[in-house]
Amino acid sequence: MQRIGVFVCWCGSNIAGTVDVQAVSEALKNEPGVVFSTNYQYMCSQAGQELIINSVKEHNLTGIVVCSCSPRMHEATFRKTAAAAGINPYMVEIANIREQCSWIHKDMEIGTEKAIILGKAAIAKVNLNAPLTPGESPVTKRALVIGGGIAGIQTALDIAEAGFPVDIVETKPTIGGKMAQIDKTFPTLDCAACILTPKMVDVAQNDKIRIFSYSEVEDVKGFVGNFDVKIKKKARYVKEDICTGCGVCTEKCPMKKVPNEFNLGMDNRRAIYIPFAQAVPKVATIDPNACNMLKSGKCGLCAKVCTAGAIDYTQKDEIIEEKYGAIVAATGFNPISMDKFDEYAYNQSKDVITSLEFERLTNAAGPTAGKLLRPSDGKHPHKIVFVQCVGSRCESCAEKGKEYCSKICCMYTAKHAMLTRDKYPDTEVYVFYIDVRTPGKAFDEFYRRAVEEYNVHYIKGMVGKISPEGDKLMVRGSDLLNNKQLTIDADLVVLAAAIEPDKSARPLATMLTASMDTNDFFTEAHPKLRPVESPTAGVFLSGACQGPKDIPETVSQASAAAAKVIGLLAKDKLTGNPCVAQANELMCNGCSSCEKVCPYGAITYVDKEFRMPNRTTAIRRVASVNPAVCQGCGACTVACPSGAMDLNGFLNKQIIAEVDAICK
């Protein structure tokens, strides 16, 4: 039997104004389990708390009921008070007689009567409370960053800076991501490579960071602080530790006609290749789909020319298993496919290109060595049309485009237009826009410069149709402000394609039990207050995998995610919420209903041996809750038909006792 103390707070006149606190404390004195009952002006004050502490000692109390304001306000306070008085903090229950009683009723009699009932319910619950201790779990002090773009790089560097080891997993043969493909960055027009590659080198040289390039995450098990991850290191047929990146093999390889994905297929690479000069790790990779040696066993030229002896045609995929305390998703984005936008003739003309392709065309390391030449005939274009919002803000065509605004297109289109006019003043540049959205530091100024100083023709309207005619592209669009329909005979058309999350994000989210929105962007734990955390504890979000972002935003989010990871890894142990589900193994059927409804994957099954009638035993499959993962929602407790699953702090019998106390 509990020895319960009841403490009724006046809250000045907030409660005492409409509730006869004296009558409440008197009435509750006679409830089962109650050995002491009193009231006081401000229970949350220093003096009020001391009153509680002294009463606990004086009356040997084992449980406390505070009739006061909402538990959302002072439950934590009174739990601390209980701990200070030497009893378990979870032996405290609050009867909310302010927000849910005195403040909504005007009549003293009604208020008092209701306060007594609420007090009785809290007492009935405390009678069945049991001391709860939060579970502790150790933290593996290593972080995993999935994705090696600027987001992943920045997150990894920041975590390593704090002294924790970090692994980066990147599916491509090199880190760098989309930023490595970009020529210049808005609004400052620094060269992307000049600011990115030093960071890539930092990553390579940082002894806290390991890079698993050309690798994929295969499996994730475990929970915050204790993830077990399987990483598949795909065979690149080159020994990473021996290859010096001299590039001789990539010059001698006879397979010359492999589309170069780094330049978006606008030129070719060899079967053995290094994606670009500043690749990290700077190691060659053999494309097994193109290599003659791997396909038919005939060639072996690269092995012959490699003086370091790094080529290994027998290499196999390798599985690496590692433990991590935190995981950061930084899987990034891709431009959407233009295949379904027939009206823009992307598949009909080589001279209709996407913005990312334009980046490569203007990049000094690109297929044209930085000269802006038309892909079809290599001639210099004199009239260029940029089309914004291709596939973005596209509600009706869900199978073609995306409903959301891709956010970055306005700015990079302004950049492209400005750079073109700067380098080639003889070129006429038109931009078709619906709106120009430039929130961001120095963004609008940048866009205005494109218009005012560089004389880029911005046309409010959308392009309806592009038709190739001879070596021209007839671009028909509307000019809404002049109420005209225009046809521009362009040499080159650049489509600002919408961006979408990388395809690898969805299966990864499943592995991480992290939630996603309908567009496959990762959802954050709270859209405003916890923007870099996923709802799954220990999983963090960095960069465009959470939503469209430009580079400065990506980098700030990456650092924010790193700060969260560091905060987690800095702890030796994680203290959980003790109000978690608990399975009574004796009653569990092993039916898996609870496992299916658990949003956190906190429930697993174990086989245990049970005594059965007639001195026999049987192996039964029973549920086991991982208290470090369980968040205490209670979905499982109702899914469980046998009542084997219960929720600490909100036990079935406690809630039923409250119901009984209210109803009787």
Partner: protein, 130 residues
Amino acid sequence: MRKEIENLQNEIIRISGVNPRKCMRCGKCSGTCPAYDEMEYHPHQFVSMVESGDIEPLLNSKSLYQCLTCFACVDRCPRGVEPAKLIEAVRLAAVRKQGQNHMTANDIPEKLDEDIPQQALVSALRKYSK
């Protein structure tokens, strides 16, 4: 007067099944329209003028009959506004204003004439039966 305009507006919206508020003013419909140069009011203007209740000028404009109903705007509109359907509805409103020209299926037999193409009848029924 205001009431009348509102009624007309609601009627057009109802007949067309189009929600002009979905329009984000991108002008792709007008950018795509093959009859643009013929028209005084262009597809995007139909949408915004119906939305603002500025329907009278549309009813009196020849633009109504210059729409080819090619549906390029319907196909390409990124927001699914379907301007051609709206123009069709305005056209219908204009037709109705002219007087008793409502038509039911029962009226067809007497109108049958060997020289009238089947398609004309179908299209007449489509226009005048709503």
